[in-house]
Amino acid sequence: MTVFKSPGSGSKFVLPRRSLLKGGAALGMSTALGAPFINRLFAAEEHPLAGQSIEMNILGIAGWVPSSLGVKMSPLFADYVKEKYGYTVSFAFAEAPFSDLFQKAATSLATKSQEYNIIISDSQWLGALAKPGWILKLNDVIAKNPALQLDWYSQTVVDTYMTYPDGTKDIWGLPQEGDVEALYVRKDWLDDPKEKEAFQAKYGKPLPQTFEDFDALTMDEFEKIAEFFTRPDEQRWGFAQQYSRVYDFATCAFNNYLWSRGGEIWDPATGQIEGILNTQQNADSLQAFKDWLKYCPPGATNFGIAEGIDVFTQGKVFSTIQWAAVGSAMITDELKGKVLVVPPPKHGTGDAAKRICSMGGQPWVINAFNDEKKMRVAIDFMNWWYQPDTAVEFAKRGGNPCDKATLSRDDFNSINPWNQTYKFMLEEGRSRDFWHDPKYSEMLAIQQEGYSSFVTGQSSDPKAVLDYIACAQQQILNDEGVAKTAPSDACAATSL
């Protein structure tokens, strides 16, 4: 068979040359025309990335207001750097719900990929992300960038969102969203004259009305109010909080009881859990935690954050202990002006009464495997995020910044209904985070299972449940080398 040479094949080589010439001419023209603009850009600030276009990926938390705020505000950053530094940045977002986010981040970072350049991480994961070297250590970055050397509102902020291991000066994250536990109450139910009368008649005391009233309130007094508003036949209950087995919901809600009543969960210095977590005092706290189910709607044992929002916004409960971060979801348009946000009640009586609640919130962490360009953009992003204007804008949209300057503004309390409580709970000693250990996930899973098993009635002895949890956690930390002592012999007999 003969092979014919196609007629146009000779000219195939001419065409590219022609198009090259065309391209070259175009380039030359655009440079000539664009020169004045480029000069102006360069005049703004000398920046290594000027004139380039960079793509960044942010991994955030699905369905979480502050995370989506961070995402929604990124076009502002794009505008900012375009004007100031002369480069274009475009963002793509990925997200996963809390319960799966660590999984998503870890499976990606384990491959040393640049799939996610900036990650909004939950505060407990700092250890798990830092230890394998997946995120960038920020001490040097902060030293070189004055904009990041902020005065944070309290030491709690630094301890929770920035430091790992606990007690050292190593910094791995910068606070994205501060978060504390708050009590959301239906002010309109409190203001109702009929309710006021009935309550006064029944208990001989007035219903609390203001922030200060609730600040002074103890759990015993609050219990009366919860009981008062628990009316199942009217489809209304007095209270709701998280009891769910998923993620950290039950733990965060229970730790409010544990810490406020004087208990501890571990000794960070020695890694000791057994003997500290499973005390009789904590067992009593666990029982109290379960007892409050009687003021909660049915199905409360499955309540996480989302369910808490659902029951409150649908008018099923008088009050909910809920994160300040979801304030904008809790206070829907229909509920505007009807909700008062106050600190959770104190545990105990008299002067010894105190409240120590769980700390929430998320830090920004930077992927350690970013190439130079993306790293530069990430640092610029942080610098921009902590500018006073950005922080205020963030607050105005419903977010919670953490720096002293923004929080000390005169108008801060009025920006969002929960801001006053947020500042209040952020002060030293009022909120606490639990362990940042890389093994937190395993320890948390056991704990969640235990607490869930107790509140649903599968296990009936709170002390036994705590023994089981403490032993298992002691084993994990001992295997890891963080805890110096192994679980005691009594541990062999524990079970759920």
């Binding site: 699905a62 369905g63 997200e95 999984q103 989302a306």
Partner: protein
């Protein structure tokens, strides 16, 4: 009397079908409700329908990427799987190499492990070779999962196609290629279609593998459903119901159109006509 009995009989069957379909109908119904209507107590059967959920759905970022990925990954994986399986099944059926039974069993063993157990070493492997978040490698992995079932079905059908056809084809001067694809293949159509549809639905609904070894570029709809469950703190019922309703259209359509083939296909070759 017989008519009455028949009528009652048919009514009973329809009632059963409706009972099984009821939860799905509930989801589709919810996709036309506002969020407050969905959460209303007692649950509302009569309400003013709204199309807002669908409008919102189609304005979601990445939606078309996800739908595209779902279609691409499903079709690609299953086409590859059925093709490869057909060749293998032909070989097992016609030439019965030594160890056929052992190989068939081994193929089945792939499907025995729970998802996380299967994906664990694959994840490490993909991580080591940089194959994570790649359409090709994800598709190939899905294909692997679809092969065992396809081989079993196709072998069953091929066993039912007499070897006379092969011989006649060869005798008449055709190559093996001709025999396999032009003579034998059309005769096992029900098996091909059944294998195709079952595996398509499996990959269509697959979440875990995409979550672990897929990534930003290969996200599919079940992944979107999982991450979109919570929106700004509350459960995003409107999204889930609308998305599920849209997503289920393809599988249900296939089941309706190809029902005959499914029924015949699941006989694994013992029936060639109508069921």
């Amino acid at each position: 009397m017989a008519r009455l009995r028949a009528g009652l009989y048919y009514a009973g069957l329809w009632a059963t079908s409706l009972v099984f379909f009821a939860p799905i109908a509930w989801i589709v119904l919810a996709s036309f409700k506002t969020r407050s209507d969905i959460l209303a107590i007692p649950p509302k059967l009569i309400f003013t329908p709204t199309l807002q959920n669908y409008v919102d759905l189609f304005q979601r970022q990445s939606l078309f990427l996800q739908i595209g990925n779902s279609i691409l990954l499903s079709l690609g994986a299953v086409i590859i799987a059925v093709f490869v399986s057909f060749l293998a099944a032909f070989c097992f059926s016609r030439f019965k190499p030594k160890g056929t039974d052992f190989l068939m069993f081994l193929l089945l063993s792939i499907r025995m492990l729970p998802g996380p157990a299967v994906i664990l070493p694959v994840f490490l492997m993909y991580a080591a070779f940089g194959w994570k978040d790649s359409h090709l490698w994800l598709m190939l992995f899905y294909a692997m999962f679809s092969i065992p079932f396809s081989v079993w079905i196709l072998k069953g059908f091929l066993d039912g196609v007499s070897t006379r056809f092969d011989e006649t084809g060869i005798v008449n001067g055709g190559s093996w290629f001709h025999v396999i694809f032009k003579v034998v293949l059309p005769q096992v159509r029900p098996g091909l279609i059944a294998a195709f549809i079952f595996n398509l639905i499996f990959v269509w609904n697959e979440f875990l593998f995409n979550f672990i070894i897929g990534g930003v570029t290969t996200q599919n709809i079940p992944y979107a459903l999982a991450v979109g469950t919570y929106a700004d703190g509350g459960v995003n019922w409107t999204f889930i119901s609308a998305m599920t309703s849209v997503y289920i259209i393809l599988p249900i359509t296939f089941i309706y159109l190809f029902q005959k083939y499914l029924l015949v296909g699941m006989t694994f070759g013992t029936v060639r006509g109508e069921v």
